[in-house]
């Protein structure tokens, strides 16, 4: 009921404000006569506050969780569950994903990148809580390329300014070794290959520690070193039965993928062990090689600290005095064990350096001669003309190009 108005038709005072769709009308409730009506159409300027705001300019993006973000968050949660991570990890990973999604560069990224981003967040969470998760595992779970993963990972660490600690080697050894299916007999694993988990773990840890001390781990992917160490540990615990088993066969038995660099890491580790063996008097006389040294790994590991100190001289100190002819040939692995008269004296210490420094350089880079170029020299015409085609050459070239075009456009006889 509005005050003061009367219907022109029936004179009733019962006027009701009603809208016919979006048009405001003042209607008499008795006879239905429309007394006044609003304007159905409005001008653009009139509509100032009524105009629709595009979603990207509204705050809806911040208030709502977009569908792709929802999908991403679900992916993060699924990954955490598949990896059987503790429940707190899931919350942290989800928080990182949400944080990342605020960044403009991530919000407008392709779906592939957002998929990989879910993996990155899980990886960062695991790394920060010292949970040994490798990038290889995440990439396998996501069916993603390592290149794509690495790009997104480096970008997100930089953008979010996160401090991501290094992969914890000890934890990785424990998790990785436990995944080897060698702790119970099965149709594929004969009894002589079955090993006690604790013994294998402790020996593998010692071998990995040895590899770390002798520069075999720095700069390399950690997993192949652990594979090689596990193999050696397993072999050395029962050498008589297991020496015949190769690294590839071992991984197949244990149902673990053999990473490509593992065989090279194995050779390096054996070389280190051989050098250590030369320092033990009762092993010196045996003239061990890469196969027989496996039988004595137990002894070598027992005295590893002392043996490493004796077998290797400090490579860093040696570098300062290089070029003084101090028997650098000793750096050659295996040479001194051949030259030594048996039991006379222990081999002179080899250089303790990363393998890349022990190998001879592939090619010697010549030091470029001192350049006397000032940048303002005169440029002779003849020098420039050597790069230009003569008119005849241009004609020939154009003819050749035309001929090629013609040949390409001829349809193939079917």
């Amino acid at each position: 009921m509005s005050g003061g108005g009367r219907c022109p038709d029936c004179g009733s005072a019962e006027l009701v404000e009603d809208s016919h769709y979006s048009q405001n009308q003042l209607v008499c409730s008795d006879c239905g006569c429309v007394v006044t009506e609003g304007v159905l159409t409005t001008t653009f300027s009139d509509e100032g506050n009524l105009r629709e705001v595009t979603y990207s300019r509204s705050t809806g993006e911040n208030e709502q969780v977009s569908r792709s973000q929802q999908r991403g968050l679900r992916r993060v949660r699924d990954l955490c569950r598949v990896l059987q991570l503790p429940p707190t990890f899931e919350d942290t990973a989800v928080a990182y994903y949400q944080q990342a999604h605020q960044l403009a560069g991530i919000r407008t990224a392709r779906l592939q990148k957002k998929e990989v981003l879910a993996g990155c967040c899980v990886l960062i969470t695991c790394r920060q809580r010292n949970w040994p998760l490798t990038m290889g595992t995440i990439c396998t779970l996501l069916y993603a390329d390592l290149d794509v993963f690495s790009g997104t990972y480096m970008q997100i660490v930089k953008l979010l300014g996160l401090d991501v600690p290094s992969l914890c080697l000890v934890d990785l050894v424990k998790t990785y070794c436990s995944s080897f299916k060698l702790f119970e007999a099965s149709p594929s694993v004969p009894a002589k290959y079955v090993e006690d988990k604790e013994k294998m773990l402790s020996r593998t840890l010692q071998l990995v520690e040895l590899a770390d001390e002798t520069w075999l781990v720095t700069g390399r992917h950690p997993l192949p070193v652990i594979t090689a160490a596990t193999f050696l540990a397993w072999q050395s615990l029962r050498p008589s039965d297991r020496l015949t088993c190769s690294l590839a066969r071992f991984c197949k038995l244990a149902n673990v993928d053999l990473p490509y660099p593992a065989s090279s890491r194995l050779q390096e580790l054996l070389a280190v062990l051989l050098r250590m063996a030369e320092q033990l008097p009762w092993l010196q006389v045996l003239k061990l090689d890469k196969r027989s040294v496996v039988k004595h790994i137990g002894d070598l590991l027992q005295h590893r600290h002392m043996l490493v100190r004796k077998a290797f001289r400090d490579g860093t100190a040696e570098m300062d005095g290089q070029g003084q002819g101090q028997g650098l040939g000793d750096g050659d692995v295996g040479s001194s064990s051949l030259e030594l008269p048996a039991g006379k004296r222990p081999a002179s210490p080899a250089l303790l350096l990363p393998p890349c420094m022990l190998k001879p350089p592939k090619r010697v880079c010549p030091i470029p001669p001192v350049s006397t170029v000032t940048g303002d020299e005169d440029i002779s015409d003849s020098e420039i003309e050597q790069y230009l085609r003569t008119p005849q050459e241009i004609r020939d070239f154009q003819k050749a190009q035309a001929a090629r075009q013609a040949a390409q456009s001829v349809p193939n006889p079917t």
């Binding site: 990972y153 480096m154 520069w215 950690p222 300062d320 170029v373 154009q398």
Partner: protein, 291 residues
Amino acid sequence: PRSPLLSPSVPYDTAFNPQLEELSQENKDQAVIRSKHEIEENCKTQSQQTTLPLPSQLDTGLALNSSSGSSSHSHLHPADGNSAQPSPEKPHSLPLASITPMTPMAPISECSGIVPQLQNIVSTVNLACKLDLKKIALHAKNAEYNPKRFAAVIMRIREPRTTALIFSSGKMVCTGAKSEEQSRLAARKYARVVQKLGFPARFLDFTIQNMVASCDVRFPISLEGLVLTHQQFSSYEPELFPGLIYRMVKPRIVLLIFVSGKVVLTGAKKRSDIYEAFENIYPILKGFKKA
């Protein structure tokens, strides 16, 4: 076998460069004159035109340092007399007074004695005229142009051995030179080629965009240790890349540090940035010599 530094035929400035005794006689005179410029330009902030005459591997424990404004580095200031006393307010400067040619220098902890070698310079220049890339590719022997793959002509010259990307807007990128001067000379040669093809090419706004250098500290580096103590600058992911990526803040240079002791420095616009960055990182790396 080498002539004494303080012989009358050698200008007095060489008293400041004891490692010059390592150079052969032919290079020495050139090096002496250039090192004089080096010292004079030490005070300037820009040192784009200087070239260090020293070979990359020097074990004498000294380095000609062209970085200015850094008081922790040994400063070589031109003195008036042959015997310059070490200035008391700079405890780390060279003990210049005690230099005699044949005695080895006492090693100074800051000086590395290693000079990073420039490997690549990227520069840009504006030729300031629209170019017909098809015509360039037709008339020039050393050009390749595949518009479906890339929208620029790739041209190469033999001396200095460089590659240029020439765009139809007239902008050009020159890569592959080993020094700033060589890059400039190469860019000028490309501009000349374009000129000879009939375009009114000019040579505007030549700028060095990036410089890459490498060197070898000759001892193994524990990357795990380095990433622990300098984690706000370092990124070491052995699963992805064998080297450690060190992002230095001042000067703004990225260093790739490998376990073998090889270091790659990139992101510099000036040569002095590279030298300064290396002198900054060297004491840090020395701290990680032992595993």
